[in-house]
């Protein structure tokens, strides 16, 4: 019941967007890894007012068994919006939109995963949108790829994702809700950063050939920036687990044993 009205313009005379951003500027992004205790891997993302939590289970036994693949793990993505995440109450049952987005997200993530390492199993990615304010499918991919890494699923790389759109004829990245609703188009995309290959691509609205190519290049650039944020969030989650918040800096070089059993009984401080 939060009434929303169409803004007078999406791009101000100064060339700024409704929320004051420049066209190539992302909303503030906050990524956290390891936010759920029950899931094997998890991450949350706040991107503007969008707030999403992703949890990963697996690889685990797949039920029903007839879905099992003999040469790789089945990647099952379930994207769900909370009823209260949108202005009007969303009906609790999964919508066609949610089902399609689930599939699109799975397709965006799977090229990054070495699913062939776990034949017959399933990797479950559950995405819960707590608050939706535009760009939920892209934000979901950003969080889900972190959750997959947190679960220890082998990956080619993390998968950053962003939507590029057109507002008042200007190409803008990371659409907010109003730009999404009242703009002239939307191009959600995701990439594999090492190769810059695109794994998610959808488009609606009106774009010329040149606009679309430019939009995609803008998307790649923004994805590369998001990728830096992802790497930072992931490292932070693992490095912060050290007792004093720093990584062990060991100068000793006694490493005859295997690392798995010997992470260096070298120097490092007391705790507890």
């Amino acid at each position: 019941m939060s009434p929303e009205t169409k803004p007078d313009f999406l791009i101000s005379p100064e060339g700024l967007r409704v929320d004051g951003r420049r066209p190539d500027e992302l909303r503030p992004v906050e990524l956290k890894v390891g936010v759920l205790k029950q899931a094997d891997g998890s991450a949350s993302i706040r991107q503007g007012k969008t707030y999403i939590i992703a949890g990963v289970y697996g690889p685990r036994e797949l039920h029903p068994r007839h879905l099992a693949l003999n040469d790789r793990a089945y990647l099952r993505v379930v994207y769900r919006m909370a009823t209260f995440s949108v202005p009007d109450r969303k009906r609790p049952a999964p919508s066609r939109r949610e089902k399609e987005i689930s599939m699109v997200i799975a397709n965006a993530l799977s090229p990054a995963l070495f699913l062939e390492e776990f034949p017959r199993a399933v990797v479950d990615v559950f995405i819960q949108v707590i608050q939706a304010d535009g760009g939920t499918r892209c934000a979901s991919i950003n969080a889900a790829s972190l959750a997959l890494a947190d679960a220890g699923i082998p990956m080619r790389s993390l998968v950053p994702s962003v939507a590029v759109g057109k507002a008042d004829g200007v190409l803008v990245v990371d659409l907010g809700d109003e730009e999404d609703k009242y703009g002239q188009g939307d191009v959600p995309m995701a990439i594999l950063p090492p190769t810059e290959e695109i794994t998610l691509l959808q488009q609606d609205g009106f774009f010329t050939r040149d606009e679309l190519l430019e939009a995609m290049q803008m998307g790649i650039n923004s994805c590369k920036y998001l990728h830096e944020l992802q790497k930072e969030a992931l490292k932070k989650a693992y490095v912060k687990k050290t007792p004093d918040g720093e990584e062990g800096d060991d100068d000793e070089d006694e490493f005859d044993d295997d690392l798995e059993t010997d992470l260096g009984e070298t120097d490092m401080m007391e705790d507890e």
């Binding site: 019941m1 205790k37 029950q38 707030y51 949890g55 036994e61 769900r80 009823t83 209260f84 009007d88």
Partner: protein
Amino acid sequence: MGDFSSQTISHIDREFIAELLGKGERLDGRAFNEYRDIQIEANVVPAKAEGSALVQLGDTSVVAGVKVLVGEPYPDSPDEGVIMVTAEMSPIASPLFELGPPKEDAIELARIVDRGVRESQMVDAKGLCIEEGKKVYMVFADVYPLEYDGNLIDASSIAVNVALLTTKFPEMKLEEKELVATGEIKSLPVTNIAVEHTVVKIGKHLILDPVLKEEFVQDCRLTMAIDEKDNFTALQKGGGTGAMSLGLIEEAMNMALDAGKIIREKIDESVKAIK
């Protein structure tokens, strides 16, 4: 992390918990009548929900959100608004929760929490009337578990209470059959608070606020909604086929009454914190 991919309860877990309880102990060091640490954060969905709360009860967490819509009243209560609680066992919260349409346990969870709110007449339904027989407010409180380590019912009940208590929505009126905003921001007409407390029976022992491993071996549970005046406003015995004597039920009621005061204080604090 915990792996419950097999729901076969190991004999070791069963005996271990029974043995501990026999010694008057629980693994996490709590007394039998003690809740886990509770963290309540109100207004976690500020931009879209009219009210919301995140509750962490030990390693269990749930988020509840409230939407206030306008609709037509039921013919048999033309001057009363509608309030409804739903819950989903989202598979993100536990390896035990399966995909698919809500099963019995999800429906039971929603119904229990719903009765706690409804039977205590927490929200004055007549206060939700915009115009008799035409328009009323419809209040939906929906619960999503995020982490399940036992006792979803109490965590959900606390979350729903806080979400409802902190709900703010634009007042509407009918003008020439058109629904228009008055410009005022309203709170819900709350007249009572009732919170649910769950005690489970394991052997001859009663424990409050079970963790998942305790739920695995429970004979049954008893959930009790208790209001501000220490009235019992709803009971539900469930969670297994075990039977309970009147004596044990009385003991459980006393445990719930004592716990109720503590939990209501925590709810008050969290509501004040956002004001």
